[in-house]
């Protein structure tokens, strides 16, 4: 009897100790987040980087293999049926093709215009593989297999294909965590965006409720005379402090005027299929780099101007002391 009591006491005792440990860890991580917004997640994440991440790399290959296998099996029947109909359609297409070739010259001209418009090609990109996704069903973050050893830094923008995926929030030695634009966890995750043709600014917000319908929402766009058609491209804006300008977010699906008659909001279909992410491209330039570059040029000018005024300033106190 006595031993039993002792046993329950000790496990209660342990629960209290561990609770305190957890609370301390929580407070520490909260403090750490405040203190070093640009740093890594701390010693524990470094440990995980060298133990868990290599194993994740390996198992991810198995995961992809099983998925491909089941997918192949399921789609084989579909493909056979599709093949029949495609053969019939082929004859029609040959005739159509002749007509289209006449328009090819016209198309080439448009293509040149499109290439000029594609600003994202300017940024240097590094490929990375998605090795793990968030284990809970509440958030949409994932881990990539490149970290600070590969030159990754916090706030680097991440793309897949031509569309924006998200932003790096934490960096470890060999892996980084990416928070996607469809994540709804906090308001600081919002993306400042604009319409491609009219340059109307808006705020793009991820939403757990909309993820399943494959959409993200935008809001706070001025209700001016500019008409926004459905299918208009939405890109990151020039005033965003974290996202580079001109990265494609998606196309407008629907747009409505808000009750206040001053702003408009609506839904966007993202350019990236977030469920199929396997490889992503990380842009190695951050917005801060561009801002710093701009600032250093202006501060150099300022410093040159200050140097001329310094003798005057130092002379002044002396004269007042006299």
């Amino acid at each position: 009897m006595k031993a039993k009591n002792q046993n329950t006491f000790s496990s209660k005792y342990w629960l209290m100790i561990m609770t305190v440990v957890c609370v301390i860890l929580l407070v520490l991580s909260f403090v750490a987040e405040r203190a070093e917004k640009n740093g890594s997640k701390g010693p524990l994440s470094v440990v995980a980087d060298y133990t868990i991440v290599p194993m994740q790399n390996g198992l991810n290959k198995i995961g992809m293999w099983t998925r491909d296998f089941t997918k192949n099996f399921a789609t084989m029947q579909e493909i056979l049926a599709e093949n029949e109909t495609l053969k019939e359609g082929n004859d029609n297409l040959v005739i159509e093709n002749n007509q289209l070739q006449q328009k090819a010259v016209e198309l080439e001209r448009f293509y040149e215009l499109y290439k000029m418009d594609e600003q994202t090609a300017d940024y240097e990109k590094v490929g990375a593989r998605v090795i793990a996704s968030d284990t809970s069903n509440w958030f949409t973050t994932f881990t990539i297999n490149k970290g600070s050893n590969d030159g990754m830094r916090v706030d680097m923008n991440v793309m897949a294909g031509k569309g924006l995926v998200g932003i790096i929030t934490h960096v470890g030695p060999t892996s980084s965590t990416v928070r996607t634009i469809i994540d709804s966890s906090n308001t600081s995750n919002n993306v400042s965006a604009m319409m491609l043709t009219t340059f109307d600014k808006c705020i793009v917000t991820g939403d757990l409720e909309l993820i399943n319908s494959g959409c993200i929402s935008f809001s706070q766009m001025a209700n001016n005379d500019n008409e926004i058609p459905v299918g208009e491209q939405v890109v990151t804006s020039n005033i965003s402090d974290k996202y580079l300008q001109g990265l494609l977010i998606g196309t407008v699906k629907e747009i409505t005027v808000d009750d206040n008659n001053l702003t408009r909001s609506g839904l966007i279909i993202p350019a990236v299929d977030f469920r199929q992410l396997q490889e992503v491209l990380v842009i190695t330039t951050t917005k801060q780099d561009i801002i710093d570059k701009g600032n250093s040029e202006t501060t150099n000018d300022k410093a040159a101007a200050d140097e001329e005024t310094i003798p005057d300033e130092t002379a002044e106190p002396e004269s007042s002391a006299e």
Binding site: S11, C22, L26, L28, K41, M64
Partner: protein, 175 residues
């Protein structure tokens, strides 16, 4: 030295569970919902081995999740720890052959886990769409977890039985 084999087994179990959950399960997700394997491990060890072991298993399961994906380290650790401890209370009701109690306990634990995640990470952030989250995340996750439990519970049970038999054998050697 006693029980070191058990500790190593637990570590392997947790790491395999975590890897499966973060790597394999996203590929087999139904309606973008994945089962919660870490919770199955925590709860199972809890009612098979008692409060203290359940608590420690929960702590490490949660910590692993915190370190790799959480915003604040310690939050999931705390939640899983209490789940493991809570399941430990049912040790005296637990029999190997009966699968109804484990299923009910794991389902209940997952429900609590979902509710607390909503409370701590969403409601405190000013997000009050509870009915939606209940219908589209908490309940589906619970159902999916129950289905996966039917498979993984037997593995954990078998591992535990083997360890217990071995420990009894080595204990009787000294008597």
């Amino acid at each position: 030295m006693k029980g070191i084999k058990r500790k190593i087994t637990y570590a392997v179990l947790i790491i395999i569970g975590f890897l499966l959950e973060s790597m394999l399960f996203p590929h087999i997700a139904l309606a973008s919902i994945t089962p919660n394997l870490m919770l199955i491990i925590t709860a199972s060890i809890g009612f098979m081995r008692g409060k203290q072991e359940g608590m420690f298993i929960g702590f490490f399961c949660g910590l692993l999740q915190d370190v790799s994906f959480g915003k604040y380290i310690g939050l999931y650790a705390l939640m899983y720890m209490f789940i493991g401890y809570g399941n430990g209370f049912f040790k005296r009701l637990f029999y190997d052959d009966d699968i109804k109690l484990p299923l009910a306990l794991i389902a209940g634990s997952d429900l609590l886990y979902g509710l607390f995640t909503y409370l701590l990470l969403f409601m405190l952030n000013g997000d009050f769409r509870f009915p939606y989250y209940l219908q589209h995340i908490i309940i589906p996750e619970m159902l999916y977890t129950i289905i996966v439990t039917l498979i993984f519970y037997h593995i954990i049970l078998r591992v535990n039985q083997k360890l217990e038999a071995e420990e009894q054998r080595s204990a009787s050697k000294f008597v």
